[in-house]
């Protein structure tokens, strides 16, 4: 179901079909547009990044960002899908949203996703670990 929303105005052509329910808006975004979408939501519309969720599905790997618009209590969730399971990579939004730094590092560590342009692409949970686990939240461990 598509629904027009004032926060999403200006993103025409950059976001896919929007599923809206209970004030939650889920939409797909191509990797090349994710930084524009993050800039629009975080800077132009004053949304706050709650966190991001990576998931492995049949289509590949998905990263779903959760932006909260606190004035209205609504959630805007752009989803980036990566079909290359072996070497999943996408642009980092951490240069735009400082609050995305830790969660992108964690997703890189737990799912093996490369976030290009991340200011500090290091492990978050197992830095200096003698035997760091290999992408522990992936369904298939070997690409």
């Amino acid at each position: 179901m598509a629904e027009k929303d004032p926060i999403l105005e200006g993103l025409e052509g950059k976001i896919g079909r929007t599923a809206a329910k209970n004030g939650r808006f889920f939409f797909e975004v191509a990797d090349e547009n994710i930084r524009d979408v993050a800039r629009h939501l975080f800077i132009a519309k004053s949304c706050r990044l709650s966190t991001a969720t990576a998931t492995e599905t049949r289509r590949g790997l998905e990263v779903l960002y959760h932006f909260s618009h606190d004035a209205t209590g609504r959630y805007y969730c752009p989803r980036v899908v990566m079909t290359d399971r072996g070497h999943p990579k996408m642009r980092s939004i951490a240069p735009i949203v400082k609050g995305a730094e830790w969660i992108e590092r964690e997703m890189a560590e737990l799912f093996g996703i490369t976030f290009e342009g991340h200011p500090r692409p290091e492990r978050l949970l197992t830095r200096d670990h003698p035997k760091p686990p290999d992408r522990p939240l992936r369904l298939r461990r070997t690409p």
Partner: protein, 394 residues
């Protein structure tokens, strides 16, 4: 110029749980901070995806010993969000009572620790002394001082009988008087003021950049509070203020928490009054959860707790994401610790009320003869709950 690094942690006498801060210092002044986490990682998201929705409530309750209602509440909100499940009004009031009592005891815990961190142990002993009656109310309502197991998808597990309300209100009156005293003492105390005023300032812009939440954000002038922004349970039915201050220093973070305790008492009183007459069941039976996505959040004592579930129509989540408030608040120390003397760094680190996930309780005690005495302790605990019930109910 060579740089000196002062390590704090992973094990440190003042920080109860493991976390590692590397403070770069130039003389006495902190010039940078690097944080290492992961010492308490227990893989809750991985485990949760292998549990049913009801089992996961008990699991997420054990993410944190202090926020042991906030995580289950955010989780059940997320599951209810998938299918727009409505909860009975009586359950809404009970959820709010438990949530707000948790805020009071958590803020008192922090207040005591903050006093302890700056060497002001009188405040510590005061705050923890008056935290005790709150825990005893919990024990009366839920049967436990922590890990209350009250939340269910569609309502709550246990009712607060109307005849139990008047004694609880009486205890609340006593607590309110003590809290007003603590609030006045903390606000007027010259030691706290001179020690905390202007220390560890987090600017409004930095709070926005780091996506800070809870008292950390509200002390920096950001008016964000899930209870106001997306009122669920009984929050739309009660009258309260969101406390917002401007300076962003440790003192304002303390004042925000102290004033929030007073607001929470108001909320609990309003809910308990309603529970005397609010009709109905306490649980809507949810037979199944359809395929979909749900977002649930709750304003925990430290800020927004966020849970996301994706479901496929089975009885367990396909994906369950958990984000605790400290996850976004701890990185703000990069800004608030910069440029302050090393002696102020610890209270600044503690000012976000960092919650290093508490370990699960699984204790087997053995007496001198090698005999397990855990069952005796359980019996003692149950006897105490009964005694409390009798005392409070007269």
């Amino acid at each position: 110029m060579s740089q000196t690094v002062v390590p704090i942690g992973p094990f440190h006498p003042l920080l109860e749980e493991a976390e590692f801060f590397r403070l770069s210092v130039d003389g006495e002044t902190v010039t940078g901070i690097d944080t290492d986490i992961g010492y308490m990682h227990r893989g809750h998201e991985f485990i949760s995806e292998r549990k049913t929705f009801t089992q996961s409530i008990f699991l997420v309750e054990r993410i944190c010993g202090i926020c042991s209602t906030s995580h289950p509440l955010a989780f059940v909100h997320a599951v209810e969000d998938v299918d727009n499940v409505e909860i009975p009004v009586r359950a809404a009031y009970i959820r709010t009572v438990v949530g707000e009592l948790e805020r009071i005891h958590s803020h008192l815990l922090w207040l005591g620790l903050a006093g302890h961190f700056i060497g002001y142990d009188t405040l510590w002993m005061w705050a923890w002394k008056y935290r005790e009656p709150i825990l005893e109310i919990f024990e009366t309502i839920t049967g436990n001082r922590n890990h209350y197991a009250m939340m269910r998808v569609g309502g709550v597990a246990r009712d607060v009988p109307p005849e139990a309300v008047p004694p609880l209100l009486k205890t609340l009156d006593m607590i309110e008087r003590k809290m007003a005293m603590i609030a006045k003492a903390a606000a007027d105390d010259p030691v706290l003021r001179s020690r905390l005023k202007g220390v560890g300032v987090l600017s409004r812009q930095a709070a926005i950049d780091y996506c800070a939440v809870g008292p950390t954000a509200r002390a920096s002038g950001l008016a964000i509070d899930v209870r106001k922004d997306e009122p669920k349970d009984a929050y739309a039915l009660v009258d309260f203020k969101a406390i917002v201050l401007e300076n962003g220093d440790v003192y304002d973070k303390l004042v925000v928490r102290v004033l929030e305790i007073i607001e929470s008492i108001k909320i609990v009183r309003q809910c308990l009054e309603k529970l005397k007459t609010a009709p109905g069941p306490i649980l809507n039976d949810v037979k199944e959860v359809t395929a979909g996505e749900g977002i649930g959040r709750y304003e925990a004592p430290r800020g927004e707790v966020f849970h996301y579930v994706r479901t496929d129509g089975s009885n367990r989540p396909l994906r369950h994401k958990v984000r605790a408030p400290s996850y976004v608040n701890i990185p703000t120390c990069e800004v608030s610790c910069k440029g302050i003397p090393l002696a102020d760094a610890l209270i600044t680190l503690a000012s976000v009320d960092p919650c290093y996930c508490c370990t699960e309780r699984a204790v087997h005690l053995v007496d001198a003869r090698g005999v397990r005495i855990t069952p005796d302790l359980l019996q003692l605990s149950r006897d105490k709950t009964e005694r409390l019930r009798r005392d409070i109910h007269g």
